[in-house]
């Protein structure tokens, strides 16, 4: 019952690590729960959950796990009762039984806690660690006479299946886009130059001038280093971009909260860039600006970041009057605008939310990929894109 809390929390998507679980163990060992289920609830929430956004999930799991337990109860009894439950469903030979020391319940609990403390990663089939299928007394499907079942499925169903449901998927930065990770990736969008008032002591220069002054101290100051990067973001909205609302909005949030940028402008377009760009995502034509004006206003040092799936009808990209909205037709084909943008800005990149495997299958994506360095809209892709915007210039293809 006790450990179910841990595993069910993880199943619910609450990020609880072994370290937090151990903290709770320690708290219980110190008697912080005071023998009351309510206080146990408080301390387990305080130690296991680190964001109020998971409180709801925690409550649901807690009530599911401790359903039927009413009022005050002694958690020690609970733990002991749980320890008392031997799972000897696999026949051990007499020899093995003799080999494995019989542990008293208290010792077992102590060892269990110690083992947990020693354990840093999951372990299968060992002799000592908590894991599955081992001969250690602690763990799932153990063969020890006084063994403890540690979560997982009971009986002989393979617990491996339960445990190994790609549980490390959440760690993959090439698939997920966590807000914090995105921000960290964007942090490298930085070119530091000294501007502003000279108020930072320049030690090297001070030593130099002081030496030239024959030891008479002369303080030299210099300006602080500040970020010089100006970023223009052009975003494709609507249609095929709708499924990617989540990652795109996270990128936008991260960019808006990135206060380090010297200047940041964002405009929207639909499918392809033509003679007008929009200030709002609803593409209100009263809030539009001629693309040419934007090019005139922003110099070549601005970094261009385009977010879009680059997948459209070839006519929308290549033909004059290609705009999908018949009211907005213009005689310059989209590809020409893309060329203009690419020529105007020294550095530009394209972030594509579509899976990289699909790029080669779309005609327009292939064309645009030849024009702009294209990266996948993921944490890794953003890092690479930032590198392409800031780092040493490499030739495309």
């Amino acid at each position: 019952m006790f450990l179910d809390l841990f595993y069910q929390l993880r199943d619910e998507g609450v990020p609880v690590a072994i370290q937090e679980w151990l903290t709770l163990m320690q708290a219980i060992a110190e008697g912080q729960h005071g023998g009351s289920l309510m206080r146990f609830y408080h301390i387990s929430r305080a130690t296991l959950v680190k964001s109020e956004t998971y409180f709801d999930s925690f409550d649901r799991v807690f009530s599911r796990v401790f359903q039927g337990v009413e009022g005050e109860f002694k958690i020690e009894d609970e733990v002991l009762a749980w320890l008392n439950d031997p799972k000897n469903h696999q026949a051990l030979t007499e020899e093995q039984r003799a080999m494995l020391e019989r542990l008293t319940q208290d010792e077992l609990m102590k060892k269990f806690l110690e083992t947990l403390a020693e354990q840093t990663e999951r372990h299968d089939g060992g002799g000592k660690w908590v894991g599955t299928g081992g001969r250690s007394p602690y763990g799932n499907n153990g063969e020890h006479p006084t063994g403890i079942r540690v979560g997982g499925e009971s009986k002989n169903r393979s617990a491996m299946k339960v445990w190994d449901e790609r549980r490390f998927m959440g760690y993959r930065t090439d698939l997920t886009m966590d807000l914090r990770q995105t921000k960290v990736a964007l942090k490298r969008l930085r070119q530091l130059t000294r501007i502003g008032p000279e108020d930072e002591l320049d030690i090297d220069a001070t030593i130099d001038t002081t030496c030239k002054n024959a030891g008479e101290i002369e303080l030299e100051f210099r300006a602080e280093r500040k970020n010089q990067v100006r970023l223009l973001l052009l975003m494709d909205v609507g249609g095929t971009m709708d499924p990617y609302y989540e990652p795109v909005s996270r990128l936008l949030t991260a960019l808006h909260e990135e206060r380090g940028l010297r200047d940041f402008k964002a405009y929207y377009f639909h499918n392809c860039i033509y003679d007008h760009l929009y200030k709002t995502a609803d593409m209100n034509s009263r809030k539009s600006l001629p693309t040419g004006d934007i090019l005139r206003k922003l110099n070549h040092r601005w970094k261009l970041l385009v977010v879009g799936d680059a997948a459209m009808n070839p006519a929308e990209l290549l033909e004059p009057y290609g705009n999908i909205d018949p009211r907005l037709e213009g005689d310059t084909p989209g590809i020409k605008w893309l060329h203009r943008l690419n020529d105007h800005f020294e550095r530009s990149v394209w972030l594509n939310p579509d899976s990289q495997k699909l790029w080669g299958h779309t005609h327009t994506t292939r064309i645009i990929q030849n024009l702009f360095p294209m990266f996948h809209l993921s944490v890794d892709g953003i890092s690479e894109a930032v590198q392409a915007l800031i780092g040493a210039k490499t030739s495309l293809h």
Partner: protein, 293 residues
């Protein structure tokens, strides 16, 4: 250990009404010697909590107010090179010993102190993204080195660390994992009455009811950009009492709205509501089911 943890037990103080979960979380953090991370709406008393934990435990408090420019090393120590250079030039002070020019930050001060301190790291989310990671090691080990002198500063008494966050930025996982977490919920009606009682003794109960009805109703209004918080409610009651406002006046509308709403658009929205002849609630039953259990 158990004697110790029994000795340092927080039960709330006269000036601070703490809810049960909060008391448990504070005591848990005390017993485990882990930092306590407090989140919650602005004005729910996050910073105040640290002050009262210190008071309740009879420990001195040191606060470290984090700003966007704060660096982790600022909390440890600063080596004042310019001062030393100046002293060397004019022959003031003892220049031969670098230690005279090491100025300790809040963390350094608390580590060096003879008695156990409460250390408040206020609004940690204001700082740079990497900031929490940078102080992880020092908080874990409770020691750091002064590079210039090679001195090792080890905490004589492990301080009680309280960290507050307004949720402006996500905190790194490694940092979160080491903390005990508590989210200060917005106080419910009964707890709020206790809180008000601490600040305004023996308030007329009918007035208190009317004030709370208006207050909770305001908080329910979707149009408001910034919901009034506990600290604003307490200020508002002070203003009402000083202005000699009667129960009837509070019954009909909300006097001194400026004490509750700090945003021009919000005040205008309420004025529009008044002009449109909107109906203010007068009894608890006018509010939703949450308040009528």
């Amino acid at each position: 250990m158990s004697e110790n943890s029994e000795f340092f037990r927080f039960r709330g103080t006269e000036g601070y009404i703490a809810s049960e979960p909060l008391i448990d979380a504070v005591n848990c953090a005390l017993a485990l010697e882990k930092p306590l991370l407090i989140k919650g709406e602005p004005g729910t008393g996050k910073t105040l909590l640290a002050r009262h934990v210190a008071e309740g435990l009879g420990m001195p408090m040191e606060s470290w107010n984090i700003k966007s420019t704060s660096k982790a090393t600022d909390g440890l120590y600063v080596y004042d090179t310019v001062q030393r250079l100046n002293d060397a030039r004019f022959g003031d002070g003892d220049v031969s010993d670098i230690r005279h020019y090491i100025k300790y930050g809040p963390l350094g001060t608390v580590f060096r102190a003879e008695n156990r301190h409460v250390l408040l790291i206020d609004e940690i989310d204001k700082a740079d993204l990497e900031f929490p990671n940078d102080i992880l090691h020092e908080l874990d080990e409770m020691r750091f080195d002064v590079m210039e002198t090679g001195d090792e500063i080890v905490a004589k008494e492990r301080p009680v660390v309280i960290v507050t966050s307004n949720n402006e930025k996500e905190l790194p996982d490694a940092f979160l994992r080491r903390c005990v977490f508590h989210f200060i919920e917005f106080p419910e009606r009964d707890l709020m009455k206790e809180i008000i009682d601490v600040h305004h003794k023996n308030l007329d109960t009918t007035l208190l009811d009317q004030v709370l009805i208006k207050f909770y109703w305001l908080r329910e209004q979707e149009e408001l950009r910034k919901k009034p918080s506990t600290s604003e409610l307490i200020d508002w009651i002070s203003v009402l009492l000083r202005g000699g406002i009667t129960v009837e006046q509070v019954n009909e509308h909300i006097p001194f709205l400026g004490a509750l709403l700090k945003n021009e658009q919000d005040t205008e929205a309420m004025q529009r509501f008044d002009e449109a002849g909107g109906d203010m609630p007068k009894a608890w039953s006018d509010l939703g089911p949450r308040y009528n259990q």
